[in-house]
């Protein structure tokens, strides 16, 4: 009961401040009365949940302590951690076997609860594994994902939301990369009502390589917000980010990205690119690219652009008899095509392409 009261207090608070600058958390969580676990499946079968680490009394006492600070500062990043802890003491844990692909789905059914899930994914040393994580939400979903990539291991992961009527989705990912490991992560959001992806990647060992990409399309009055933090703790490591988004109608999209290079991370190579296309005059785009570098022998870059559909391209297509709506759709799909091309799974690629262009491309 005590837990519920705290949750209620938090849900009623309006978070302000930089951390949630582009996402209205009050709106995101409005109307939710309590938090319950979301469904999680692996290859269509429910994934077993682990037991809580501490006993319940201790856990609730800890939550109270967090709740006090959180309520005092509702814009604190701890806020969502608190929600996750409050709702699910347990979480799923998955060790990916080398050479396999795991198809994981997390779903929040209709209702007025916040659905919460926690998932830990381990990729053992020297293993190469793939995963597709499909997210769908008919109400509100908070997913906490922790990914551990062992020494010399590699992971290709797509976090995919492509449902036609997805509501509110919050994902918080932390990825830890050990020496000589490699990660290719892609976040895809195809017009959910509201999605916010927070991705924190930490490179702990030399020779690690991170590719972090994002693709998002928003229409109506919907919002997609991607916030990334890439930390280089060790030298001779590399990271690159490419986030491309399109906003139609009155939609909003945001990208905030920080590359943080620690003093010991000499010879780091890091880049970040964010490109936004506004497909209407009332859509809005926000970008906040940031670099924080504490080492003196590194190569880092960032770039952010916001543009519109090229009227010359649009006219050329219309002159060939392609109606304006189709031409705009093809041009928008072409704009984010660069990110689609990086997705390593053909089936995922094909389904995204056909969603984007509105035509069945498998036949060509």
């Amino acid at each position: 009961m005590q837990q519920r009261n705290h949750l209620k207090q938090i849900l009623e608070a309006t978070p302000k401040g930089e951390h949630f600058l582009y996402t209205d958390m009050a709106q995101a969580l409005a109307g939710l009365s309590s938090a319950r676990p979301a469904a999680i499946t692996l290859a269509g079968k429910p994934l077993p949940l682990e037991e809580p680490e501490a006993d319940n009394e201790t856990r609730l006492a800890t939550l109270d302590a967090i709740a006090d600070t959180v309520v005092a500062d509702p814009a604190s990043p701890l806020y969502l951690d608190f929600l996750a802890n409050a709702a699910t003491p347990s979480g799923a844990r998955l060790t990916l076997a080398a050479g396999t692909r795991a198809d994981i789905a997390v779903h929040a059914p209709e209702g007025d609860d916040l659905r919460v899930q926690r998932l830990v994914v381990d990729v053992p040393s020297l293993a190469s594994a793939d995963a597709v994580l499909r997210i769908s939400s008919r109400s509100a979903l908070l997913l906490q994902l922790k990914v551990n990539i062992g020494q010399g291991a590699s992971l290709r992961l797509v976090v995919l939301q492509d449902g036609l009527d997805d509501k509110r989705i919050l994902t918080r990912t932390t990825v830890d990369l050990q020496a000589h490991s490699r990660a290719e992560l892609t976040y895809v959001n195809l017009d959910p009502q509201l999605a916010r992806n927070e991705v924190k990647c930490a490179i702990h060992g030399a020779g690690a390589d991170l590719r972090l990409n994002g693709l998002y399309v928003v229409a109506a009055d919907h919002t997609v917000d991607n916030e990334t933090l890439v930390e280089h703790h060790a030298g001779h490591s590399s990271s690159s980010q490419l986030f491309k988004g399109i906003a139609h109608d009155n939609a909003r999209m945001a990208f905030g990205g920080l590359i943080l290079v620690k003093p010991d991370a000499q010879k780091t190579s890091a880049e970040q690119t964010n490109r936004h296309m506004l497909a209407s005059t009332t859509a809005r785009a926000f970008a906040k690219p940031q670099l924080e570098i504490y080492a003196d022998d590194v190569k880092c870059s960032h770039g952010a652009t916001t543009g519109q559909i090229d009227p010359a391209q649009l006219f050329y297509m219309r002159q060939r008899g392609i109606d304006e709506a189709t031409a705009r759709r093809l041009l928008a799909a072409a704009f984010v095509g660069e990110v689609v091309d990086t997705i390593p799974f053909e089936d995922v690629k094909t389904s995204i392409r056909s969603r984007l262009t509105g035509q069945d491309e498998a036949s060509l």
Binding site: Q313, Y316, M317, Q319, R320, G321, A334, L364
Partner: protein, 250 residues
């Protein structure tokens, strides 16, 4: 087929076309020549419906239908084809998808079902051979990284695919070497039928050796100031435009 009456048009509030009159009948080829800045490209853009241009007076009908009231895509589907002076690069859109959207856009306009994938590929291969276009070009993105000659050949390929009734070639010869010019002109001639008509906009007489016009019109200061047969092109090549400018001080 095409009837232009007293057409006036502006771009950025500057009047470029100042009363164009032109009748084009099926099977005819009309060349439009004139010094730089006389309004040649504006005329082609206005006929195609480029939204950057505003028509301030006059009328244009195509087969009796009011062309100026139509959206650019509807004009295209009624049979207006503009071969661009500078074909636009569209990275990320494959030629196959682009052509498929165009062909099926026209079929939809005509109330026909879309072509099946195999019929579409058959049509592409047939037209590729007809206009001597390299097969590899159609596997790439629209005009992306194409040479000047490849872009113009690609325009003719698209013309072959869409079979328009009114073909407007805007400075098709610019940026072409002699061999490419011959291939492009051959394509235009092969695709000529008694039912379609051609408007060739050019600076030079050279293209008209290959695409032989029935009429040559001189456009100057936004009006057609002279109409003659093909011998006029040779005259112009020798004498330039100065004698015309002198006749029509404005």
């Amino acid at each position: 087929m095409l009837s232009i009456k007293d057409l006036h048009a502006t771009v950025d509030n500057k009047e470029i076309l100042r009363g164009i009159n032109l009748e084009v009948k099926p099977g005819e080829t009309h060349a439009i020549m004139g010094p730089n800045g006389s309004g040649k490209s504006t005329l082609s853009a206005v006929l195609a419906g480029n939204p950057a241009y505003t028509v301030t007076a006059g009328s244009v009908t195509l087969n009796g239908k009011d062309l100026l009231a139509m959206k650019p895509e509807d004009r295209a589907n009624e049979g207006v084809f503009l071969s661009f002076q500078y074909p636009v690069e569209i990275p990320g859109v494959s030629m196959a998808n682009f052509m498929k959207a165009a062909v099926n856009g026209k079929r939809k306009y005509q109330g026909l079902d879309p072509l099946s994938a195999s019929d579409f590929l058959k049509l592409m291969n047939e037209k590729k051979k007809l206009v001597e276009i390299d097969s590899k070009l159609t596997n790439r993105a629209v005009n992306e990284g194409f040479s000047g000659g490849e872009k113009k050949k690609n325009e003719i390929f698209q013309m072959a695919m869409l079979q328009p009734c009114l073909r407007i070639l805007d400075e098709t010869d610019s940026g072409l070497d002699i061999d490419a010019l011959r291939i492009v002109a051959n394509g235009v001639n092969k695709l000529k039928t008694p039912e379609n008509a051609t408007i060739v906009i050019t600076h030079y007489q050279r293209l008209l050796d290959y695409i032989v016009p029935d009429f040559i019109h001189i456009l100057y200061h936004g009006r057609i100031v002279m109409t003659a047969d093909k011998s006029l092109a040779l005259d112009l090549e020798k004498r330039g435009y100065d004698w015309i400018k002198e006749q029509f001080p404005d």
